[in-house]
Symmetry: C2
Subunit: 341 residues, 2 copies
């Protein structure tokens, strides 16, 4: 009799083999797809597994196969973004889920500092994970190159900028999302449309700006650099940008903001300047974060399909691990119209 708190020795493949009256090899074959196993043997093994409560020892398996059957979720962002950006939550949750469906554990790694980066790379390069889901938006991140050099399968979230090596990634169609928003602003009668961009070393920064410019041109509106201000995705930078815009071009009637968080800052500043939204100035955000709903007024924004992004990241990573070439997947965004525009 063992107490509740003592773990008893778990069943091994040997125990199962004995219980089923077959050899280790046969049990192993059943475990790995069941090819070249007679129906009778398979049934006996299945029953034995159920009786013994057998679960494979992944360490033993990994030792011989050389694969770990696990995947890292690596975040190389300065930590404040992790706290602020609700997208990470959604992404992390959905990736965990998608991997769990395939019985693959997710190892969470956060590399905000150089030291953490080194440590995590060391772990990954040692072959302790089969692949990496990478969240790193800044241009020229050395981690990307290191991972590529080490031959570790990687799929990034968002297009990795400033990389010479080809790396697979999954992203929302930022440019088209921006186009759609600006078209919407134009369609609702706005003619002096400004923009607050994200940092221009991030894909969201450059792509959304590009979409904005393209659409202005397509709508026959003049390009005016005074209407473009760059923020850093923080709420404060949004407020700052709005003040700059009002000063430079008091006649603007719309602002396309490259993130909801910054859009909140814009709303703050506009309210403080006595501008009514959307009557005087329409505001369009990006992300459809929870903040978009709770702001005053609720934000018209662009929804990124995070559930699909996660699913595709996992799918393409596993394909890459299985030997396929790096793939890039671009997924469509969706305009969500609320009260701010």
């Amino acid at each position: 009799m063992s107490t509740a708190a003592s773990r008893r020795r778990p069943a091994t493949i040997h125990d199962v083999a004995r219980e089923a009256g077959v050899s280790r090899g046969t049990v192993s074959r059943v475990l790995n797809g069941g090819h070249y196993v007679s129906p009778a043997a398979k049934a006996a093994v299945d029953a034995a597994i159920r009786r013994t409560g057998y679960v494979v020892n992944r360490h033993a398996r990994s030792l011989i196969t050389g694969k770990s059957d696990s995947v890292a979720f690596l975040l190389t962002e300065p930590q404040e973004r992790f706290f602020e950006d609700p997208n990470f939550n959604v992404l992390l949750r959905a990736c965990t889920q998608a991997l769990a469906d395939r019985d693959i554990p997710l190892i969470l790694m956060i590399a905000g500092t150089e030291d953490e980066r080194r440590r995590n790379l060391r772990y990954i390069e040692a072959g302790h994970v089969d692949g990496v889901l990478l969240v790193s938006s800044h241009s020229g991140d050395p981690v990307v190159a290191r991972l590529h050099e080490a031959g570790v399968p990687v799929v990034a979230c968002g297009k990795p900028l400033g990389q010479t090596t080809r790396i697979g990634y999954v992203a929302a169609d930022d440019r088209d999302g921006a186009r759609e928003m600006v078209r919407h602003l134009h369609a609702t009668g706005r003619r002096r449309i400004a923009t607050v961009t994200g940092p221009l070393d991030t894909p969201g920064g450059v792509e959304r700006l590009a979409g904005y410019r393209e659409t202005l041109a397509a709508c026959g509106l003049p390009a005016d650099d005074a209407l473009v201000v760059t923020g850093d995705y923080s709420r404060a930078s949004g407020a700052e940008a709005a003040r700059t815009l009002l000063e430079r071009a008091p006649d603007i009637d719309a602002v396309f903001v490259a993130s909801d968080l910054m859009a909140q800052g814009v709303l703050d500043a506009l309210a403080r300047a006595g501008k009514r939204v959307p009557e005087d100035i329409a505001v369009g955000g990006f992300d459809d974060s929870p903040a978009a709903l709770s702001s005053q007024p609720p934000l018209t924004t662009i929804r990124q399909p995070w559930d699909r992004i996660s699913a595709e990241m996992v799918r393409t990573l596993l394909a890459r691990i299985a030997g396929e070439d790096p793939a890039t997947v671009i997924l469509p965004t969706e305009l969500v119209v609320r009260e701010s525009a």
Copy 2:
């Protein structure tokens, strides 16, 4: 010549031993603390490790030691809470960090559904992790009992309610935080102090309510059940609760709300009812979440020491894994005074 993308066979303990001119055993001893190793041998091994770029194969080690040197972070909450509650972010981040400092990978598990719960338990019970950091606030969670039965070391975040088994946990001093907030409200002249509690099957729900009641009594204020309304930690439930309160007791001059998110809802409802905060009614929150700063007006709230909570969770879990008895740690909270009270 291997291409950049091909992983070459990593160095083993054998290679290091040959390189250093010693035996496997000596290398192993260096790797595990360096006891009973001559300084000369240790130096030779260290150099050889550096030259060969050797990293232990954790699978091989785990196979023989029976330990995985990894820890699970298990979240058994319905997923909406994961999205909404910013505390999870902070906790997860800090735990990852604390574990990384000890070179222990964190495996993230999210068990919102019954199916996910089963799968994760199976994984854990198979001994694939050495211990579990458990985040599960609801009363009588069957996962707690299952883990205890399986003899897996567990440390919970917050006191696990409705459990017959003794289990280690780390928590903020909810009750004392509530006391402090109510004392503050009283000290600033409020005399009709209502409260919006969390769900009463969560520790935050019961403890904060208890602290509220104690302090009312201590201040000589009458207990009045009409001033107590229960929410579910969501913003909407906060608004709903505020409406109920205003109806039942229009003369209240303060509300202690058991979470910032609900407090936001309370602010919404009060604004809609034409009440000024804090002039007419003071509002106190709990959590010091980012929402507390961005609400109008910024919330006076209670900060929970999440960094310390995480650090203690990791510390006590590792102690538990090392064989110590389950410990409980209660950490002090801190009043953060802003404009709402």
